[in-house]
C-alpha cells in the first residue's frame, strides 16, 4: 500500500502532466495539428508514444498473467514470433501510410472504396476505440496501491485521460505518454534484479517449477504451449496491422524513414522488456504455485521492493500505461465521431477545422463517458461492445492492407464485400465457436474472418470500376 509521501508525489506528477498537456494545447490551430501534430513527430517521440500505447494496462498485467500460466513459451513463442510477424508493418506498410495524404483510416478507405465503406469502417472503428478492457484493468492496480473502489478509480483515470486528450491533441498525448512510459519501464526494470535474485535466479526458479507437476514444460522454450495454440497466437498478432494508433503515429512522423526506424527500435526494446515481464510472471508463480491473481501479486511484489517515493512513480507509470493507451484511442475515436461519422455521414458537408477540433474533443468526452458507464456495470452491454470492438480487425484488415499495398485495380465493391464477409464470418464463429479437437480448443473467429474477407475482396474486385483509375500513377 502507498504512504502519504507516495500519494503527494502522485498528485504533483499528475498536475505536472496535465500542465504539459495544457502547454501543448496552444499549438493546436487546425485538425492536422490536433490529430497528427502537424506530421512533425521526431523519432524519439514516435518511439515513446508507440511503446507507451502498446503496453497498456492489459499489455503489462496481461503479459504477467500469460507468463504465470505458460512459462518460458510466453516469451519464446508469443514475444519473438509475434514481433517477427509485425516486421512487414514496420518495413513496408507503415512508411506507405506516412506518404499518403489521408488524415484518418476512414479517409483512406473513402479514397479507395468510396463513402459507404468509409462510414461502415468509421462505426466499427469508433466502437473499437472505446477500449473498455483498459478501464477495467485500473481495478487491479487500484486494489494493489490503495485498496479503493474500482469504479471511483475508473472515473478518475478516464477524467485525466479525457483532459489530456482534449487539451494537447496528439502532441500532448505523445509527450505525456513518454513520461508515463519512462516511469513504468524504469520502475519495473530497476526492481527486477532484486526480485530475480530473491527467487534464486534461473536455477532456483527451475528447481521450484520442475517439481510442480501441474505446470509441465513451464521452463521449456516451447513445451508450455501446444503447436496449434502457438500458430493461433502468432496469427492473432497481425491485429496491429489494423490498429488505428499505429496508423496515426506513422502519419504523424516527420518522415517515412523515421516511422520505420522508430517501429524497428520498438521491436528491439519490446523483446527485452517482454522478457522482464515474463520473468515477473514466472517469479510470481514460483513464489506461490496456487496464486489466485498473479497480476495483483506482481504489483504487490514490486511495491514491496521499491522505496517510498519510487513506489509512487511506478504506480504513476502503471496508470500511465492505461492512460497513454486510452488517450491514444480517445483521440482517434473522438476524431472518428466528428470527422468520419458526423461530417461525412450526417452533416454531409465540409466542416471548418476549428469546429472539427471542437467536435473531436466532444467525441473524446462521449467515448470516455461510454467507457466508464460500461466498464463496471451492464454486463450484457459490455459484452456486446467488446464483441463489436473485436470485429474491427476482421472487418478492416483486408481492405486496409489491400488499399495500402496492392497497386492494381480496387473497386468499391471489393471494400464493401470484404468488410461484410469479414464481419459476418467473425460474428458467426464468435457466437458458434468451431472446435477442432480438445487440445486446440475453439479456433479464434478472427482466423476465419480474415481469410473470408480476403476471398470476398477478390470476388468484389471483379465487380465495378476503380474510382481512382485516373490517379493510379500517383498512388502510393
Amino acid at each position: 500500500m502507498l504512504t502519504a509521501v507516495d500519494n503527494i508525489v502522485i498528485v504533483i506528477a499528475v498536475l505536472g502532466v496535465i500542465a504539459i498537456g495544457a502547454y501543448f494545447s496552444k499549438s493546436i490551430t487546425d485538425m492536422e495539428s490536433y490529430y497528427l501534430a502537424n506530421r512533425s513527430l521526431p523519432w524519439s517521440l514516435i518511439v515513446g508514444t508507440l511503446m507507451a500505447s502498446w503496453y497498456g494496462g492489459n499489455g503489462v498485467v496481461g503479459s504477467i498473467g500469460y507468463a504465470s500460466i505458460m512459462g518460458f513459451s510466453t516469451w519464446f513463442i508469443w514475444s519473438i514470433g509475434c514481433h517477427l510477424v509485425r516486421f512487414p508493418l514496420a518495413l513496408w506498410v507503415g512508411p506507405r501510410v506516412h506518404i499518403r495524404s489521408d488524415v484518418t483510416i476512414p479517409d483512406m478507405i473513402e479514397s479507395t472504396y468510396g463513402r459507404l465503406a468509409a462510414l461502415i469502417a468509421s462505426v466499427f472503428l469508433f466502437i473499437y476505440c472505446s477500449q473498455i478492457g483498459e478501464i477495467t484493468a485500473t481495478g487491479i492496480i487500484g486494489q494493489a496501491a490503495w485498496g479503493v473502489d474500482k469504479v471511483v478509480l475508473g472515473i478518475v483515470v478516464v477524467a485525466i485521460t479525457i483532459l489530456l486528450t482534449c487539451l494537447g491533441g496528439l502532441m500532448g498525448v505523445a509527450v505525456t505518454d513518454m513520461i508515463f512510459f519512462f516511469f513504468m519501464v524504469t520502475g519495473v526494470c530497476l526492481v527486477f534484479p532484486v526480485m530475480f535474485e530473491d527467487a534464486g535466479g534461473l536455477m532456483g526458479l527451475r528447481a521450484v517449477m520442475d517439481a510442480a507437476p501441474e505446470f509441465p514444460g513451464f521452463m521449456h522454450p516451447t513445451a508450455g504451449m501446444s503447436v496449434p495454440k502457438m500458430i493461433m497466437f502468432i496469427m492473432l498478432s497481425i491485429n496491429v496491422y489494423a490498429d488505428p494508433t499505429f496508423y496515426q503515429r506513422f502519419s504523424a512522423s516527420q518522415t517515412a524513414k523515421s516511422s520505420r526506424r522508430a517501429m524497428l527500435t520498438c521491436f528491439c526494446i519490446w523483446l527485452a522488456f517482454d522478457l522482464v515481464l515474463v520473468f515477473g510472471g514466472i517469479i510470481v508463480r514460483a513464489n506461490n504455485l496456487n496464486v489466485a491473481s498473479p497480476e495483483l501479486a506482481y504489483i504487490e511484489m514490486i511495491l514491496h521492493h521499491l522505496p517510498v517515493g519510487f513506489r509512487a512513480l511506478f504506480i504513476i507509470g502503471l496508470f500511465g500505461a492505461i492512460i497513454s493507451t486510452l488517450d491514444s484511442y480517445y483521440l482517434i475515436g473522438g476524431t472518428t465521431l466528428a470527422k468520419d461519422i458526423y461530417a461525412r455521414g450526417i452533416a454531409k458537408k465540409e466542416i471548418d477545422d476549428k469546429t472539427l477540433v471542437r467536435l473531436s474533443r466532444i467525441g473524446s468526452v462521449i467515448l470516455g463517458c461510454i467507457g466508464v458507464a460500461l466498464a463496471f456495470r451492464f454486463t450484457l452491454v459490455y459484452d456486446a461492445v467488446l464483441f463489436l470492438a473485436s470485429m474491427w480487425m476482421s472487418t478492416a484488415f483486408v481492405p486496409i492492407i489491400m488499399a495500402l499495398m496492392y497497386k492494381g485495380k480496387k473497386t468499391p465493391m471489393a471494400g464493401l464485400l470484404s468488410m461484410l464477409a469479414g464481419a459476418l464470418v467473425f460474428a458467426w464463429f464468435y457466437l458458434n465457436p468451431l472446435v477442432i479437437n480438445e487440445s486446440i480448443g475453439a479456433v479464434d473467429a478472427l482466423l476465419l474472418g480474415v481469410p473470408a474477407s480476403f476471398v470476398a475482396w477478390i470476388i468484389g474486385n471483379r465487380i465495378g470500376e476503380d474510382i481512382n483509375a485516373d490517379k493510379i500513377g500517383i498512388q502510393a
Binding site: 530475480f196 535474485e197 527451475r206 526494446i269
Partner: protein, 82 residues
C-alpha cells in the same frame, strides 16, 4: 510536371529500405537479442537475464527519454522566440 516527378522520386527514396544501413542494423539487433536471450534462458545465465536485460532496457529507455526532453525543450524554446 517536374515538381510531381520530384515528389514521386522523394517518396520512392523515403520508402527504400536501407538493408546495409540503420534499417538492416535494427533488424540484426532484434535477431541478436533473440538469440542471446534464448541462449541465456536455456543455459541458466543469471547475469544476462537478471542484470544485463533489465539494466539495458532501463538505460535505453532513459536515453530515449533524455532525447525526448531535449527535443521538447528545443520545441518550447522555438515557440518562446516567436
Amino acid at each position: 510536371m517536374s515538381n510531381n516527378k520530384q515528389i514521386e522520386s522523394s517518396k520512392k527514396e523515403d520508402l527504400k529500405i536501407e538493408w546495409f544501413g540503420l534499417d538492416g542494423l535494427l533488424c540484426l539487433i532484434y535477431l541478436a537479442e533473440a538469440l542471446l536471450f534464448a541462449y541465456a534462458m536455456i543455459n541458466n545465465n543469471d547475469f544476462i537475464v537478471g542484470k544485463l536485460v533489465p539494466y539495458s532496457v532501463a538505460a535505453v529507455t532513459t536515453a530515449v527519454f533524455l532525447k525526448y526532453l531535449y527535443q521538447v525543450f528545443s520545441f518550447a524554446r522555438k515557440n518562446g522566440k516567436k
